[in-house]
């Protein structure tokens, strides 16, 4: 039986190898799966040649070179294949932004400067067209982030499979804050930008002063219901992550000081495009960083052409915990290539892989659940023909929460329909004889 299945699976693989073709199955399946004979990049425990992974109930039950395959498991022979933990994109608008030019199709921005109680998870559209497009590329998890004012809302980490936001939640959230800066917007003078920064710094500090007071009196009879402060009090109390978007070198230093003054503990810096300028100070602060996009132009006209490519590596080598993001939505699928660029420009392949797996999970506080291939963790992983950072590599299978995901997306369906269109030219008159 087992052998028969293996043969069957091998046959099924043939078309996939050619074109990352459509799987016949359009529905996800969960079962007890045994993934065998693969080279397994556990990320946290090295590489296992000819290893096996057993998935049961959505969890990795066993990993290793000498794992016995349960008799009731559906076996996949991945000989010559590589298995990696699902990639985590630490900054996207997946599910919140369907078509960015159309206001009705954007849900990542609420009215107001201080709206930390706005929940990204609420607005995630599980059926967003970009979600299957992303996950068939091996990205299984994403931080989806609201943006806009000083405190635009609460970001959520989602697994890219599920039919309700709750099914998708990966169990981590964080309040988002944009650290005030004086970068000029379009049609803004430097004076205006300087004033905007001052105004925003004032609003930010007054808001957090209030939040700290609110955290103290919360629950007492006199405390009024103040949803904005409810959300911030969780940060003050150390129950909730605070993602601070900060990019300029001077701003990063100010933000470090601000965090230290406030004494907030669960803080992550995001963006951090000029982190390389202040890498040592960042390392010393112990604050983790989500940076990206790596494929990005330098922040200053006077900077080296590859400043953005080199940024993650410089921070990582200084001792900063670095996770990567695409800061994209529809092209979150390019996460491995951002990592590849970081790898080539000083970070090295191993660290770059960590930056989109275990480091991302660690930064979000869910490193006990995802980010590596370890027993007891969620079965978020993918099977590839080789190095996922290379574009010639084909992603063969993706598992999210233990589900075998159908390897299809609208982009693949269109490919299938139009590669050899029927009818071709012949149904109608040709255009030149009109």
């Amino acid at each position: 039986m087992k052998k028969f299945l293996t043969v069957l699976m091998t046959l099924a693989l043939i078309p996939m190898l050619c074109f990352a073709q459509l799987d016949d199955g359009k529905k996800a399946r969960a079962a007890k799966f045994a993934l065998t004979n693969a080279k397994i990049y556990t990320v946290t425990n090295g590489v296992i040649e000819n290893g096996t992974i057993v998935i049961n109930n959505g969890i990795i039950e066993a990993v290793g070179a000498n794992v016995s395959i349960p008799a009731d498991a559906e076996v996949f022979d991945y000989e010559g294949r590589e298995i990696y933990p699902g990639m985590i994109d630490s900054g996207t608008q997946l599910g919140l932004n369907e078509i960015s030019s159309i206001a009705e199709a954007r849900d990542f921005r609420e009215f107001g400067d201080v709206t930390p109680q706005m929940q990204a998870l609420t607005a995630v559209n599980p059926n967003a067209v970009a979600i299957p497009v992303t996950r068939v590329s091996g990205v299984t998890t994403a931080l989806t982030v609201p943006s806009g004012g000083i405190l635009p809302g609460t970001a959520a980490t989602i697994n890219l499979f599920g039919y309700t936001p709750d099914q998708m939640s990966a169990g981590s959230k964080g309040v988002v804050m944009s650290f005030p800066n004086n970068r000029r917007g379009r049609r803004q003078s430097q004076e205006q930008a300087d004033k905007a920064k001052e105004r925003n710094l004032k609003t930010m500090n007054e808001t957090w002063d209030k939040a700290e007071l609110y955290a103290k009196i919360q629950g007492s009879d006199d405390a009024r219901y103040y949803p904005e402060m409810e959300a911030l009090a969780e940060v003050v109390n150390g129950e909730m992550l605070l993602y601070i978007e900060v990019n300029g070198a001077e701003d990063i230093l100010s933000a470090i000081e601000w965090v230290q003054d406030r004494g907030y503990e669960k803080v992550v810096f995001t963006g951090v495009q000029e982190g390389w300028r202040v890498a040592d100070q960042l390392a010393e602060s112990g604050i983790s960083v989500i940076t990206g996009p790596v494929q990005s132009i330098p922040t200053r006209r006077s900077d080296a052409y590859d400043a953005a490519y080199a940024n993650p590596g410089i921070m990582q080598q200084a001792g900063v915990t670095v996770a990567l993001r695409t800061n994209d939505t529809e092209n979150s699928r390019n996460l491995p290539y951002h990592a590849g660029f970081a790898a080539a420009h000083g970070m090295g392949r191993e660290e770059a892989l960590k930056a989109i797996t275990i480091n991302a999970a660690t930064v979000m506080g869910i490193e006990d659940q995802i980010g590596s291939i370890e027993v007891g963790k969620k079965a978020n992983l993918f099977v590839s023909t080789g190095d996922p950072f290379e574009t010639s590599t084909v992603i063969l299978d993706v598992f999210i929460d233990g589900y075998l995901i159908p390897m299809t997306s609208r982009q693949l369906e269109l490919y299938d329909e139009f590669l050899d269109r029927t009818p071709g030219l012949n149904k109608t008159k040709t255009i030149t004889d009109g």
Binding site: S100, S101, A103, N247, N331, N334, T391, Y415, F418
Partner: protein, 461 residues
């Protein structure tokens, strides 16, 4: 020289207009011998342990163990990969203005007037192995301005030094959301794809009448004849009708792509490349039959409605249907890694190495009418070369050197950070701009991120 825009007008008029001698910019030509490389020729396979000799700006020999001629600099490329300089068929770097969007037909304007050689983005593109770009007018109007093909000879302050001497003239057209959005914003036509077609047909019909008037004037033997009104706008449209200008049309949807082919068939215009063309894959057989080309993104989609039904397999479907296809950047960011964008066609459609690399070399060269000069490593072609540390289709590839006409314009070894040519003494030392992908794909393109005044303001002043 492309600057002379009036080929057909009779000699007296040419003399009358061009009394001044045109001063052809003297561009530097170099000599170099690249030794012992893996040479990806594009047209003649990949040659191991091969030398490429460039003399006076041209590839003079491709062989093993070429003896170094006296006085020629040698570059040891052992273990390195050499490919033709990358060509970006859609770029907006190095332009002081992009859109003259104040009128729906502006065929008289030309990007050759607004080349900005001081743009640091040029150097950053060189550092991505790019040697030539197609500096395009924006897409705000149905018939936009003429484009300019450039070689990225960074370092000169003279715009003329960057011109791709001898490249054919090209012009930008635009269909779909962008020109109709302009129409809606101003309460004029076109506000629909119907109106776009009508505007195209009207414009060319007018041009036919204009040409008839001028033909009659020229045929008139009388020495007391009176010239019809001269219009540079109409002159340009006539040049398009006569096949002297290649049309590059901003387009997304299959229906509008098909529409333009029908219009062009009716007016007998043949040289046509669709830019972006996210839905070109849907009419790939029609494109192939017409002989039209497509210059597409590797994977951009979903930023507006007309690119919602895109697929990253576009380039592969087009290539396999026999359509000459290129991959472009339309971005000061993407242009720095077009080799990587081309590599994505191996993920999306399994193209061969040569097919993938042709998308950013020979194919765009054909679309710009410069394939007799660049786009492959062949004897007699220009010495426009990029050298990579590993195979350029690898994500880990880093361009090491970039040559144009045999002159080295980028060398990673000796790269200097601050590449600004002019510095405003009143500028602050630390002026930080944070990259926003939104601004990249959309700045000239689309949607409501664009401020109305972008349609006519200069960017530099």
């Amino acid at each position: 020289m492309k600057g002379l825009t009036m080929k057909k007008i009779n000699l007296t008029i040419i003399l009358c207009f061009f009394v001044a001698t045109f001063v052809q910019a003297q561009v530097e030509k170099g000599d170099v011998l690249i030794k012992n490389a893996t040479v990806i020729t594009i047209t003649n396979g990949t040659l191991e342990n091969t030398d490429v000799l460039i003399r006076d700006g041209k590839i003079s020999k491709i062989d093993q163990n070429i003896k170094t001629p006296r006085g020629v600099e040698e570059v040891d490329a052992t273990g390195k990969f050499v490919m033709p300089g990358i060509i970006d068929a859609h770029s907006h770097i190095a332009g002081s203005s992009i859109n003259e969007g104040t009128s729906q037909v502006t065929s008289e304007v030309s990007m050759e007037d607004v080349v900005n050689p001081l743009d640091v983005a040029i150097y950053r593109a060189l550092a991505g192995g790019v040697t030539s770009i197609h500096l395009m007018h924006g897409s705000a109007n149905v018939i936009g301005g003429q484009n300019e093909t450039l070689k990225l000879r960074y370092g000169s302050t003279n715009p003329d030094d960057l011109r791709f001497e001898g490249a054919p003239r090209t012009i930008k057209f635009a269909l779909g959301e962008n020109p109709t959005r302009g129409g809606r914003a101003r309460g004029i036509q076109p506000q629909s794809r119907m109106g776009v077609e009508a505007m195209l047909r009207n414009s060319f019909s007018e041009a036919v009448i204009y040409k008839e008037k001028w033909d009659a004037y020229r045929a008139d033997r009388s020495n007391r004849k009176v010239a019809p009104e001269y219009s540079l706008r109409m002159e340009t449209l006539v040049d398009i009708l006569e096949g002297e200008i290649l049309v590059h049309c901003h387009s997304y949807r299959a229906d509008e792509i098909y529409m333009l082919m029908k219009v062009f068939a009716d007016f007998g215009i043949e040289k046509l490349t669709f830019q972006h063309a996210n839905e070109a894959y849907k009419v790939a057989p029609e494109l192939a039959e017409f002989g039209a080309s497509a210059s597409v993104f590797s994977d951009w989609w979903a930023y507006k409605l007309e690119v919602y039904y895109s697929t990253a397999y576009n380039a592969a479907i087009l290539t396999k249907n026999g359509v000459n296809t290129s991959i472009n950047s339309d971005s000061g960011e993407l242009i720095r890694h077009l080799f990587h964008e081309a590599a994505k066609t191996q993920k999306y459609g399994n193209l061969s190495d040569d097919e993938a690399l042709a998308l950013i070399t020979l194919n765009p060269a054909k679309q710009l009418g410069i394939d007799d000069r660049v786009g492959s490593i062949e004897t007699g072609k220009d010495g426009d070369i990029a050298i990579f540390d590993v195979h350029p289709l690898s994500t880990y590839a880093i361009p090491l050197m970039t040559f144009i006409d045999g002159v080295k314009y980028f060398d990673k070894e000796t790269d200097v950070k601050d590449q600004r040519i002019y510095i405003d003494p009143e500028s602050p030392i630390a002026e930080v701009h944070i990259f926003d992908a939104e601004d990249q794909h959309r700045c000239m393109e689309g949607a409501d991120i664009v401020h109305f005044s972008d349609l006519f303001n200069d960017s530099e002043e």
